[in-house]
C-alpha cells in the first residue's frame, strides 16, 4: 500500500504493508534510524516519536493508522538545522548518555513533558519518564538533564523577551 506521511515537516511517500509499524517505516524505508528498536512491544520507549506532538511508540503504531498526523522523530527535534533543542543542549552539557541507544526515546518523551510542564519536579519527571528504559542506568543524569533544559528554556525566553 502507498502511504504519504508528514515526517519532520516533509512529505514522505512509502509503499509498505499496512501493518508495518511506523518504526520500521522510519528505519528501513526513510533511513531515519534515530528512532530505535528495543523490544517491539511498547515496553522500553526507545522508539518514542511524536504524533501531532504527543509521544507515541512507533513500534506499536501501524503505518496505516498514522494518516495525516504529523510525525516528529529525534532527527526533527531540533528547532532548525545547526541548532539544538534545549534538551539536546542539556544532554551535551551534562554528558547524560552512556551507550546512547535509549536516549533518542528519552529525549522525545522529555520534550513532550517540558512542553506541558516547563518546570517539572523530580516526581513529575519520574512519572513522565517511567516508560523509557535506560539499560546503562543514566536515570539520575536524565533527571538533571531535564531540569537543566527547563532552565535553558526559561533563560532563552528571558533573552528573547
Amino acid at each position: 500500500m502507498k502511504y504519504t506521511l508528514s515526517v519532520n515537516g516533509a512529505s514522505r511517500s512509502v509503499d509498505v504493508a499496512p501493518d508495518t509499524p511506523l518504526l520500521w517505516v522510519l528505519r528501513d524505508h526513510l533511513e531515519l534510524t534515530g528512532t530505535k528498536f528495543g523490544c517491539g512491544i511498547g515496553q522500553c520507549g526507545a522508539c518514542t516519536v511524536h504524533l501531532n506532538g504527543v509521544p507515541a511508540r512507533a513500534c506499536m503504531t501501524p503505518v496505516s493508522t498514522v494518516g495525516r498526523m504529523k510525525v516528529t522523530t529525534i532527527e526533527g527535534l531540533a528547532p532548525a538545522p545547526g541548532k539544538l533543542h534545549p534538551l539536546q543542549q542539556a544532554w551535551t552539557e551534562l554528558d547524560v548518555a552512556q551507550c546512547g541507544y535509549c536516549q533518542p526515546g528519552q529525549l522525545m518523551t522529555a520534550a513532550a513533558l517540558l512542553r506541558d510542564n516547563p518546570k517539572p519536579t523530580d516526581e513529575d519527571i519520574d512519572g513522565a519518564m517511567a516508560g523509557n528504559l535506560c539499560r546503562c542506568g543514566t536515570y539520575t543524569r536524565i533527571r538533571q538533564g531535564i531540569k537543566r533544559a527547563a532552565e535553558l528554556t526559561a533563560g532563552g525566553k528571558g533573552v528573547a523577551q
Partner: protein, 739 residues
C-alpha cells in the same frame, strides 16, 4: 607521490614494545616516511603512528581502536593522546578504527581493561608525536629543540616565533620516530584535559539521532535477516515449512543452517531473508518448525535448586579452600550463624538487540558488528565457516550496551553464515525474544553458609557449600569462586566447597563476573555476623580486614587463584567512604537505615553506603547512595568515570530488584521486558554521590568494580531499616513488610 617505510631497528623496537605491538613486520604500519629521495607523504599528512594524523590544515585526527559500548573509551583514551600531544580537545577529531590488531594492538573491550592496558602506551604515543613536531619546528628555525615547546596545537620558540602543527606536519613526517628515552611525558600537574569532565565525542550524534549503532547500518541493496533457533538451548531443526515461508511477501529466501554443535557458537536454525526488517519479522510469525530439543529439555532451574538443598549438608564435589579446622571451630564457637543465599540466572539485556551486518563475496567477508571482542568473532568465523582471517574485515560499530554480552560472537557468526548464502549485504536483527532466550547468561547459584564467632565477637570460622552451574565440565563464566575471594585468607578456620551442576545452558560474563554475586552473598553474611556479634557493621569489617597492609595471593590455601590484595587500600577507601556518607552520625527513624559493603575487583577498590526507606507495606526506596572508589592515580575523564559509577549503582540495584530468568525444560520462560522487567527511573536512587580517592598506584578501569558492593549495601540497609534479612535475589520475591 609515494610513501614507503623505513624501519630503524632500535627506534622501532622500542616504540613497538611500548605500544604493545611486538612483532617485526608490524613496524610498517607505524612509521611512514617519504620514499628515499621522494616527495612528501600523500596529502602532506603527518602519520607518525596508527593512532594520530596531523593534516597540513592543522586538523588532528585520533583513531580510537577500542570497541565503544557506552563505557566511554572512544572519548577517554583519545583524551590521553591529546593531553600529551598538547592539542586543544575542541580541535581534535576522533575516528573509530576498524578491527586490525596488527596495526593497533589488542582491541578487546572487557574486564575493565581498556584503561590499564592502554594508559601508559597512549601517554607515550601522544608525547612522541609532540616531540617530533617540536623537533620539526626546531629544524625549521635552526634552533635547539630544548628552546621550543608545544602549546595548544602550536610550537613556540623563546624568541616569540610560532608555528601551528599543520605547518610542521610535512617536516615532522620526514623525522625518525624518537626512542622513548628521548620523549618527555607531561607531568600530571601540567594536565589540562585529564581529570576534567568531557562529554562523550559521539554526543552530538546520539542526541540528534544520527546513525551510529550496528542496527543503524544501511547499505545499498541490503537485505534483512531473522534467525529462528530452538527455544531449548542447542536444539536441532528436524523440519520447517520453508516452501510456504518463501512465498510470503517480501521474502527472498529461507534456509536451514545446521550449526556446529556448540551452543555459544553457531546454533542450528532457520534463516529468513527479506527485503525489509518487518517483512522478515512477519514471515517469521508464520514459520512452523519441528525441533529435536535433545537432553537439555530435561534440565530445569527448580530441580537444580531442590537438589542443591538436598545436598547442602553433604561434602561438596571439590574443596576450593581449606584453612584450619572449620568443624571444630564451629562446634566451639560462642555464636553460630547459618544461612542459605540464592541468586538466579539473569540476562544482559542490552537495549540494542544483537545484530550484525555481513557481506560475503569473492571469498571475502566484510562485517559491521557491535562487538566487544572482534578477534573472537573473526576466530569463530574462521573456525566454523572456514573463511581465513585475512579475508575477513570487521568494522566496529557503536554498541547499544555491552555488559559482557558482546564478548560472545554467536550473533556475528550467525550473520556470517547467513551471508554466505545471500548474494547481497545482509543485516541480521535479533528480536528482543531472541536476545532474552539466547543470551549467554550470568549463572545463578546457591551458597549454604555457616559462620562462628568467639566470645569477643570475632569471626573464627566460615564454611560455605557453593552450588554453581557448569558447561562442559567447567563452571560457567562468573560461576567460579576463587579460593582467594574475600573473606578467604582472613579467617583462620575456613572451608569453601563447590558442587557443580553440568548443564547445556549457555553462560557468559555479566559485568563484574562472579564478583557481582559473591560480594552480595559474602557482604550480606558478614553483616549477619556483625549483627550477631552486636557490633557496628563498619567497625566489624575494619576489624575483619585487620592491620596488615598486603594480603598475598594464595595465602597458604589450596588454590593459587585470585591475587594480591592491598588491605591498606581497602581500609582507606572504606574509611573514606564511611566519612563521605557520614556513617554512624545519622539517626534513622524505623523503616529507614544505612548499609555498607566493599569489594575489590578489576584492580579497583570500592566501598559503598546505601541509605534506604522501606514502607510498612514493603516498598523500597533508595534515598541516597554513596560510592568511594580507588582506581589509582588518575581519573581520565571525570564525567565518564562518574557516569560509569552512577550506572553501576543503578545496574547493581536493577539486578537486585527484579531480574530473574526461569529456565524450565532447557529454555528461558521469559520473552520480553513485560516478563523480565528492568529498573526504571522511578526506582533509581534519589541521590547518587561518587567520590574518588587518588592513590599512588597505576590507573585502572572503572566499568565494573563499582557494581559488586551495590546489592549488599542495599540489602544491609534494608536489614538496618526493617530487621528483614534479604537472602534471595531478586527482591521482587522477598517480603519486606514490617510492623
Amino acid at each position: 607521490m609515494s610513501t614507503t617505510t623505513t624501519p630503524r631497528a632500535v627506534n622501532r623496537r622500542e616504540f613497538l614494545k611500548l605500544t604493545g605491538l611486538a612483532g617485526g613486520g608490524l613496524a610498517l604500519a607505524f612509521q611512514i616516511r617519504p620514499a628515499r629521495g621522494g616527495s612528501a607523504p600523500a596529502g602532506g599528512d603527518f602519520r607518525p603512528n596508527a593512532f594520530v594524523r596531523v593534516a597540513p590544515s592543522g586538523a588532528v585526527t585520533i583513531v580510537s581502536k577500542q570497541p565503544e559500548m557506552g563505557q566511554g573509551v572512544k572519548t577517554s583514551l583519545p583524551m590521553i593522546i591529546a593531553e600529551q600531544l598538547e592539542v586543544p580537545w575542541s580541535s581534535v577529531n576522533i575516528e573509530q578504527g576498524d578491527f586490525d590488531e596488527k596495526l593497533y594492538g589488542g582491541q578487546s573491550a572487557g574486564g575493565s581493561r581498556s584503561t590499564p592496558n592502554n594508559y601508559d602506551q597512549f601517554h607515550l604515543l601522544g608525547a612522541t608525536v609532540r616531540t617530533m613536531l617540536v623537533e620539526a619546528a626546531a629544524r625549521t628555525w635552526k634552533v635547539p629543540a630544548s628552546e621550543c615547546r608545544a602549546v595548544d596545537g602550536t610550537v613556540v620558540h623563546g624568541s616569540g616565533k610560532k608555528l601551528g602543527y599543520g605547518a610542521l606536519a610535512a617536516t615532522a613526517a620526514t623525522l625518525e620516530v624518537p626512542a622513548k628515552e628521548a620523549v618527555r611525558l607531561k607531568e600530571p600537574k601540567d594536565f589540562k584535559l585529564l581529570g576534567r569532565r568531557i562529554a562523550q565525542v559521539d554526543t552530538p550524534r546520539i542526541v540528534t539521532g544520527q546513525p551510529l549503532f550496528g542496527l543503524d547500518l544501511q547499505l545499498p541493496g541490503m537485505r534483512h535477516a531473522v534467525y529462528e533457533k530452538c527455544p531449548a538451548f542447542g536444539g536441532k531443526v528436524v523440519s520447517a515449512n520453508l516452501d510456504f515461508v518463501k512465498t510470503l511477501p517480501g521474502v527472498k529466501d529461507a534456509f536451514i543452517l545446521e550449526g556446529n554443535g556448540k551452543v555459544k557458537e553457531l546454533n542450528p536454525g532457520i534463516a529468513i531473508i527479506a527485503d525489509s526488517t518487518w517483512a522478515a519479522f512477519s514471515a517469521r510469525r508464520q514459520l512452523k518448525v519441528t525441533w529435536d530439543e535433545g537432553k537439555v529439555a530435561e534440565e530445569s532451574w527448580d530441580k537444580f535448586v531442590a537438589e542443591a538443598r538436598a545436598k547442602a549438608a553433604s561434602p561438596g564435589q571439590r574443596t576450593l579452600r581449606r584453612d584450619g579446622e572449620v568443624e571444630q571451630a564451629l562446634a566451639s564457637a560462642a555464636k553460630k550463624v547459618s544461612a542459605e543465599y540464592l541468586y538466579p540466572f539473569i540476562s544482559h539485556a542490552n537495549l540494542e538487540p544483537q545484530n550484525t551486518t555481513a557481506h560475503f563475496r569473492d571469498g571475502r567477508l566484510e562485517v559491521w558488528s557491535p562487538t566487544q571482542v572482534p578477534a573472537a568473532g573473526v576466530g569463530m568465523v574462521t573456525r566454523v565457516l572456514n573463511i581465513p582471517a585475512d579475508k575477513i574485515t570487521v568494522h566496529l560499530t557503536r554498541a547499544g550496551g555491552g555488559f559482557g554480552r558482546r564478548i560472545g560472537a554467536d550473533y556475528l557468526v550467525e550473520a556470517a553464515a547467513i551471508a554466505q548464502r545471500v548474494p547481497a549485504p545482509v543485516k541480521l536483527t535479533w528480536s528482543r525474544e531472541d536476545d532474552l532466550r539466547h543470551d549467554q547468561y550470568r549463572p545463578g547459584g546457591l551458597h549454604f553458609l555457616q559462620g562462628g564467632l568467639d566470645a569477643q565477637g570475632r569471626v573464627t570460622a566460615w564454611k560455605n557449600h557453593f552450588f554453581t552451574f557448569g558447561e562442559g565440565g567447567q563452571p560457567g563464566s562468573g560461576g567460579s569462586l576463587s579460593p582467594d575471594e574475600f573473606p578467604g585468607r582472613w579467617i583462620p578456620n575456613f572451608l569453601a566447597e563447590q558442587t557443580m551442576f553440568d548443564t547445556g545452558w549457555p553462560m557468559g560474563p555479566w559485568r563484574a563476573p562472579g564478583s557481582c554475586v559473591f560480594s552480595w552473598v559474602f557482604h550480606s553474611f558478614i553483616d549477619e555476623l556483625a549483627h550477631a556479634a552486636g557490633r557496628d557493621p563498619l567497625t566489624f569489617r575494619l576489624e575483619l580486614l585487620g592491620t596488615r597492609d598486603e594480603m598475598p595471593a594464595g595465602g597458604g590455601g589450596k588454590g593459587k587463584q585470585g591475587g594480591g590484595y592491598s588491605v591498606a587500600r581497602m581500609r582507606n577507601i572504606l574509611k573514606f567512604t564511611a566519612e563521605k556518607a557520614g556513617w554512624g552520625k545519622k539517626k534513622f527513624a524505623r523503616g529507614s537505615g544505612a548499609g555498607i559493603a566493599f569489594h575489590f575487583s578489576h584492580q579497583g577498590y570500592f566501598a559503598q553506603v546505601a541509605e534506604v526507606t522501606v514502607s510498612k507495606e514493603g516498598q523500597l526506596r533508595v534515598d541516597r547512595f554513596v560510592t568511594g572508589g580507588d582506581v589509582g592515580r588518575q581519573i581520565v575523564n571525570l564525567s565518564g568515570a562518574e557516569n560509569q559509577v552512577e550506572g553501576s549503582v543503578v545496574d547493581g540495584l536493577g539486578a537486585l530488584l527484579t531480574q530473574e530468568l526461569n529456565i524450565e525444560r532447557g529454555r528461558v520462560v521469559q520473552g520480553n521486558f513485560h516478563e523480565y522487567p528492568l529498573i526504571r527511573i522511578t526506582e533509581a536512587p534519589a541521590k547518587i554521590e561518587t567520590h574518588f580517592l587518588s592513590t599512588d598506584h597505576p590507573t585502572t578501569g572503572i566499568g565494573e568494580p563499582a557494581i559488586p558492593p551495590v546489592a549488599p549495601a542495599v540489602c544491609n540497609a534494608i536489614f538496618a531499616a526493617t530487621g528483614n534479612r534479604v537472602r534471595q535475589m531478586p527482591l521482587s520475591r522477598v517480603d519486606l513488610r514490617w510492623t
